[in-house]
Amino acid sequence: MKSRQGTSQPLQYLPFEEEVARIDQLIAQQGNEDSLHGKNASKIRQLQVRQTELLQKIYSNLSPWQTVQVARHPRRPILNDYLSLMFKDVHPLHGDRCFGDDKAITTALGQIGRHKVMIVGQNKGRDIKEKIACNFGCPNPEGYRKALLKMKFAEKFGLPIVTLIDTPGAYPGIGAEERGQAQAIAVNLMEMSRLRVPIVCIVIGEGGSGGALGIGVGDRLAMLEFAYYSVISPEGCAAILWHDGTQAPRAADALKLTAKELMQLGVIDAVIPEPLGGAHRNQHDTIYNVEQYIVRTLHQLKRKSIDELLEARYRKLRSIGEKCLNLAEIQPQIPERLSAKVQIEKAVQEAAEAKIEVQ
């Protein structure tokens, strides 16, 4: 079991994993008395098999709210883990040349497979000191401006861009508003839609609204299996609909924020599988899966000409929500509209009829 957990620290169990925790406890008790090769070996193995089955059962039908809890798990791999395990030769670049260096967004040069890339990612921090430095993964405007600056640098030298998204949302603070949070995100959206290098975006944990989208426009958008991506946090949505933040599980159901549901909606391009029991139970396998996806996708994207790529990127964005219904389909009687064209046509028709009558 130790190898699956990755480290020796005890794992934090989520509320729906009580049974798993109990089995782990039982195994620990057996293990304490005797080792794996002792007289309790068969019993331990039995327990392990039961636990695996249980995890498979739980994780094959997680509810949307449970998915959100997995995505927020304190041991889920964060950007720093990806930087150390997935990329080689990482050179961080700092500062937005304007105000400061936001630690919630990390930008670095790095190598993945055979591709040299620009990495842009949101960092949440592991321990409390890091978390405070990173503002709990909530970027300020200077973070988005730094990201854009480094992406333009990548464009100049033809380096593909890989963005790793993991944020509860852009920071809601006085300073952030003073420095133009909205403008910083807006400019990123516009510029990323026309950067002349391939861009691969991956939601590795939380995809919180505009804060996630601010570095999330590209040729491909993929999500880890138990990550979530939403227009508003489930708590915020519940506070609006029920005036009660504790209704978040119901809001999570309604928002369709899991990778599987978004794939069905056609908003994302791929779902990257996570190992048994979620990414926090096996960081290495998770990061390996992400690496495989990025390398494969970059290989595909690099084969296309950049103009083709830009056209496809625009078409992809343009097609989201393109299939609007006709008003008549949801409401049979359409009231008269205040269209000048219609009014003129009517007047002309009336005039024509009147003339006939006169004659």
């Binding site: 006085i174 227009v231 989201i320």
Partner: protein, 285 residues
């Protein structure tokens, strides 16, 4: 006749008549939120929905905005009959998003959060779009995104300047990530418009927040705002709940943004038409 009269007398106990009293027609007067003065509604409306005493700009809906900005009868709407397909099948409790779309278009004048079309402003042809706060808080969903992109594409084709009046709470929650992606979609369309050399004038009105502020509203070549308009990414209530500090006076108002360098000018509603037409002339459209 007689028994009826008797009945009436009987009903009126204690000398009071039960017939409905002649009352003041509702909404004839209203209190101005700016100066607390009582205003005659008609005077306010004739004054472009601005308080004559303190210049408080009342919120106005899309059709009214277009009637104020465009030359009379020149507005030719694009995609007037678009409606959301409710991609999420969003429901909460017993309520359905789909019913909201229907109920809200009861008056038929404004069935979505944006109206877009070709119009003339002081004789200059433009693509004009105005948002409708009355429809689900002016929130941006697939219909707003689609109307916006069609307007931009038409503006590129016909080489027209683009004027967009924003008034919105942000992306529409009921359409989830589809609504969120409209931010990227509208911004991408504007990137193309920018490359084609088009002039984009963005007018921010009270309120412009969330996903709308963080996409097309803030991307104008020229950004103007109405006095006192609330403009920002996160709404002041959420900021206050998060950081638990009293927010400074005038925070996120148009004057605050002007001071911090995020908008070009603050324009009184009565000057919008002339200011827009002057800019169009300057940019040689």
């Amino acid at each position: 006749m007689k028994p009826m009269a008797k009945d009436k007398k009987k009903k009126g106990w204690n000398g009071f008549s039960l017939r409905p009293r002649k009352e003041m027609p509702e909404g004839l007067w209203l209190a101005c939120p700016g100066c607390k003065e009582m205003l005659f509604r008609k005077t306010m409306e004739e004054n472009l929905h601005v308080c004559p005493e303190c210049d408080y700009h009342f919120r106005i809906d899309g059709p009214t905005r277009i009637a104020q900005l465009a030359d009379e009868g020149s507005f030719e709407e694009l995609g007037a009959d678009l409606a959301s397909s409710d991609p999420l099948k969003f429901t909460w409790g017993d309520e359905k998003y789909q019913d909201r779309i229907r109920v809200n278009n009861g008056d038929g004048r404004s069935h979505e959060a944006m109206l877009a079309g070709k119009a003339f402003i002081k004789g200059r042809p433009v693509m004009l779009a105005a948002m409708n706060f009355g429809f689900l808080g002016g929130s941006m969903g697939m219909v707003v995104g689609e109307k916006f992109c069609r307007a931009v594409e038409r503006a590129v084709d016909e080489k027209l300047p683009l004027v967009v009046v924003s008034c919105s709470g942000g992306a529409r929650m009921h359409e989830g990530v589809v609504a969120l992606q409209q931010m990227a979609k509208t911004s991408a369309a504007l990137a193309r418009f920018d490359q084609a050399g088009g002039l984009y004038i963005s007018v921010l009105t009270d309120p412009t927040t969330g996903g709308v502020a963080a996409s097309f509203s803030m991307l104008g070549d020229v950004i103007m705002a109405e006095p006192g308009a609330l403009i920002g990414f996160t709404g002041p209530r959420v900021i206050q709940q998060t950081i638990k500090i009293e927010l400074p006076e005038g925070f996120q108002r148009a004057e605050f943004l002007l001071e911090h360098g995020f908008i070009d000018m603050i324009v009184h509603r009565k000057d919008l038409r002339s200011e827009i037409s002057r800019l169009i002339d300057y940019c040689g459209h």
